[in-house]
């Protein structure tokens, strides 16, 4: 690894790669290019940047949605101060989002990759297993919350009936986050498995043969040959896991609207702006905080991608 890296760097030191000759575009091509750029730019600005900036602006105000925009009462950073000081669910929510992220990486992601590798070996019935593991992904999260409710219900749930226990799986704030994570993992595993399986199918078979000829064991082949080749897929998996855990919302919303041990930033935003509560300023401030956290991860990812492109 190090030697190739050094060689590459040395090559870059020698001089910049030869610039491609600039081609003059015909006026018609220019028009087409301009149009192709303009339409997406307008859409992105209109649908992404304006609403995002709108949230940032709203987060400095207090507004219940009645009357025109001039009824917004500007309160400076009070929403942010309130969130950090007197809003009890906020810090638990941050913590739960981080636990969510760590858990998804450690268990379902690894398990999904393992399943993909095993299924890739084309054993008997692999198609059946593939479908079975992928099934939960097709179900809506609302349905998943309900299915697991049948297992977890304290009085009528399957788990407590079978083991004759009295655990309040969804209600006990020390337990329910983990119970929900298991339900999430059930779905997430299949998702990662499918993505990884698709990646594995794309790996050049000659690499495996070469490794086999060199006498590498299966495990060694995977970690030293297949895994590095799969770098783009691995990156996709990382991004998916990060996004899934930061925007986690639906399953806790279905269970108890993200309260009592299941606080997540996304759910708190929902509690404040969806439905009957209309704390648009406060909810926006929470959304901005969520946006900032996400941008940290997005920045890291983009830097990684760009660095790779420059090197590649």
């Amino acid at each position: 690894m190090t030697t190739t890296e050094e060689v590459r760097r040395a090559a870059q030191d020698v001089g910049p790669p030869p610039q491609r000759r600039e081609k003059k575009l015909s006026p018609r091509d220019r028009l087409v290019v301009a149009g192709m750029l303009l339409v997406p730019i307008v859409l992105v600005v209109w649908l992404v940047w304006l609403p995002a900036l709108g949230s940032v602006v709203l987060s400095f105000g207090k507004w219940n949605g009645f009357g025109d925009l001039d009824t917004i009462e500007w309160v400076g950073t009070q929403n942010y101060e309130d969130i950090a000081t007197i809003y009890p669910p906020f810090w638990p929510a941050i913590q739960h989002n981080l636990i969510w992220l760590a858990f998804l990486f450690m268990f379902p992601t690894v398990l999904g990759m393992l399943l993909a590798v095993v299924l890739d070996r084309e054993m008997r019935g692999s198609r059946f297993y593939q479908t079975a593991f992928y099934m939960p992904v097709v179900l809506s999260v609302a349905l998943i919350g309900f299915i697991w409710q049948l297992f977890y219900s304290r009085d009528q749930g399957l788990i407590n009936q079978v083991f004759n226990t009295q655990v309040d799986w969804y209600g006990d704030p020390d337990v329910n986050l983990w119970a929900v994570l298991v339900a999430t993992a059930w779905r997430h595993t299949g998702y990662i498995m499918l993505i990884y399986l698709a990646g594995l199918k794309g790996v050049d078979a000659s690499l495996r043969e070469a490794a086999a000829v060199d006498g590498a064991s299966e495990v060694r082949t995977f970690f030293h040959v297949i895994f590095p080749v799969m770098r783009p897929i691995n990156m996709v998996v990382v991004v998916i896991v990060v996004i899934e855990s930061l925007r986690a919302f639906d399953i806790v919303w279905v269970i108890n609207k993200g309260r009592n041990g299941l606080e997540l930033i996304g759910a708190l935003v929902g509690q404040n702006v969806i439905g009957e509560a209309t704390r648009y300023g406060f909810g926006s401030a929470l959304a901005v905080i969520m946006m900032l956290i996400s941008s940290v991860f997005i920045t890291i990812y983009l830097r990684n991608v760009f660095r790779e492109e420059r090197q590649g």
Partner: protein, 435 residues
């Protein structure tokens, strides 16, 4: 069986799934809602030949609740020759987009709730002053009070209601020789007796967050009185004062008589444990009958007993549904005329004869012949009540109820010893919200 408006109320709160799916639409759907109204139905005031637009919070085919409203609209057309242009919208969608609806091009008359939810629209100038519609024949003073905004004018016409009370199974009470308690001592000895017989006195579930508000409401009304309760809900009292602490202290002494681990149990499950006899009683709205339909005929109820003899037991939660006239409606006079008629006994009778299941009419002149036993008793109890509250999430700022009180009450149920910490946290947040 009282599968009346209560069914829809219960469903509206219960249908988390629907709520989820619609949540995403909430911000955008206001436009849709308003668009359903169609064009201007024509000028003129009331009377023959005019059109009045009627927005209702029940989708077509959603059951008896829709049938009743549609029957009312049809009867109005028949009686006054006014064409009614019905705009039927799903219950949750209606509720979640009502802000944008009222600020856009709303219908003339629309279905809504009494209490703070009505008062906040009155303050924002979104609904029309109906004080010249009042008094309405057959509506008593407590209904008039519930229709009155803080400025002293009426903005609402009641249609129906349902009370919150303590439900129990008649056969189980008879078998054990129990009777409905009237004082705190009666209640305590009844609960001790139940525990002695291995029955949990109160079924209890607060997974959804709102059911325990009913317990807070009734304890506050019994310990501090109706006036204090309403002024607390309006944000005019201290949440960390001795009165609120007394409510939580009393609740703490009652908690050992409630089902354990309420936060993992929804009200349907709690109702089931009352239905199958594991628990003796359950404080809930009359929609409890929906969850225990097989024993619904065996259900009876009593209002929560008095806890302080100087205050008595003449107040209760009985959420009232009814109608408002939108200030943005095209045809104010026709809207007012229809609203007045909708409050009449004739309107209630038309509704109840047009559907399989009746509601409990707010108008005392309405026929009660189609009522179930529970509904008849509900009408008696509410008629006798001196004061009617609307339930916490209707009596106070919805922001405060949903984002502060729900988690705070849940915190209390998790940790009943931290009353000082919880009440001071509520007060800090209340100060920030009520400003």
């Amino acid at each position: 069986m009282p599968r009346s408006a209560l069914v829809t109320m219960a469903a509206s709160r219960r249908s988390v799934l629907r709520g989820m799916a619609l949540g995403g639409l909430a911000l955008g759907s206001g436009g849709l809602l308003a668009a359903c109204g169609g064009d201007d139905g024509g000028g003129g005031s009331s009377g023959s030949g005019t059109t009045v637009k009627f927005g209702i919070n029940e989708a077509k085919g959603s059951g008896p609740a829709y049938d009743r409203l549609a029957a009312m609209a049809a009867a109005y057309t028949k009686e006054t020759d006014t064409k009614v242009d019905l705009n039927a919208v799903d219950h949750n969608t209606f509720q979640e987009s009502v802000n944008t609806y009222l600020q856009g091009t709303p219908d003339d008359v629309f279905t809504w709730f009494a209490g703070f939810r009505m008062a906040q629209f009155a303050e924002a100038g979104l609904i029309t002053d109906l004080s010249d519609v009042w008094p309405i024949d057959g509506m008593n003073d407590s209904f008039k009070e519930a229709s009155t905004a803080p400025d002293g004018k009426q903005y609402f016409v009641p249609k129906d209601y349902y009370p919150w009370a303590v439900f129990y199974r008649k056969s189980i009470f008879e078998k054990n020789g129990w009777t409905a308690p009237e004082t705190k001592d009666d209640l305590m000895s009844l609960m001790d007796d139940m525990q002695g017989k291995g029955i949990t006195p109160f079924a209890f579930g607060d997974k959804q967050g709102w059911p325990a508000m009913g317990t807070f409401d009734i304890l506050n009304m019994r310990l501090n009185g109706f006036d204090f309760h309403m002024s607390l809900m309006a944000g005019d009292e201290q949440w960390d004062g001795d009165e609120v602490k007394l409510v939580f202290e009393t609740w703490k002494t009652l908690l050992p008589y409630h089902q354990e681990d309420p936060l993992g149990r929804n009200w349907e499950e709690a109702a089931t444990s009352m239905g199958n006899g594991e628990c003796g009683m359950y404080l809930l709205g009359t929609f409890v009958a929906d969850a225990v339909a097989d024993v619904a005929d065996d259900l009876d109820f009593f209002t929560f007993p008095e806890l302080d003899s100087s205050i008595g037991a003449d107040a209760l939660d009985a959420p009232i549904d009814g109608f408002c006239v939108a200030a943005g409606g095209q045809n104010q006079e026709a809207g007012k005329a229809m609203a007045k008629w909708l409050g009449s006994a004739a309107a209630a009778d038309a509704a109840n004869s047009g559907a399989d299941v009746p509601f409990i009419a707010a108008n005392s002149g309405a026929s009660t012949s189609s009522y179930s036993a529970l509904q008849k008793k509900s009408a008696e109890v509410v008629g006798a009540a001196a004061n009617i509250a609307q339930f916490m999430d209707r009596d106070t700022n919805a922001d405060f109820a949903n984002t502060v009180m729900v988690p705070s009450i849940q915190d209390f149920l998790k940790n009943p010893d931290d009353i000082d910490g919880i009440t001071s946290s509520i007060q800090e947040q209340a100060a920030s919200i009520f400003g």
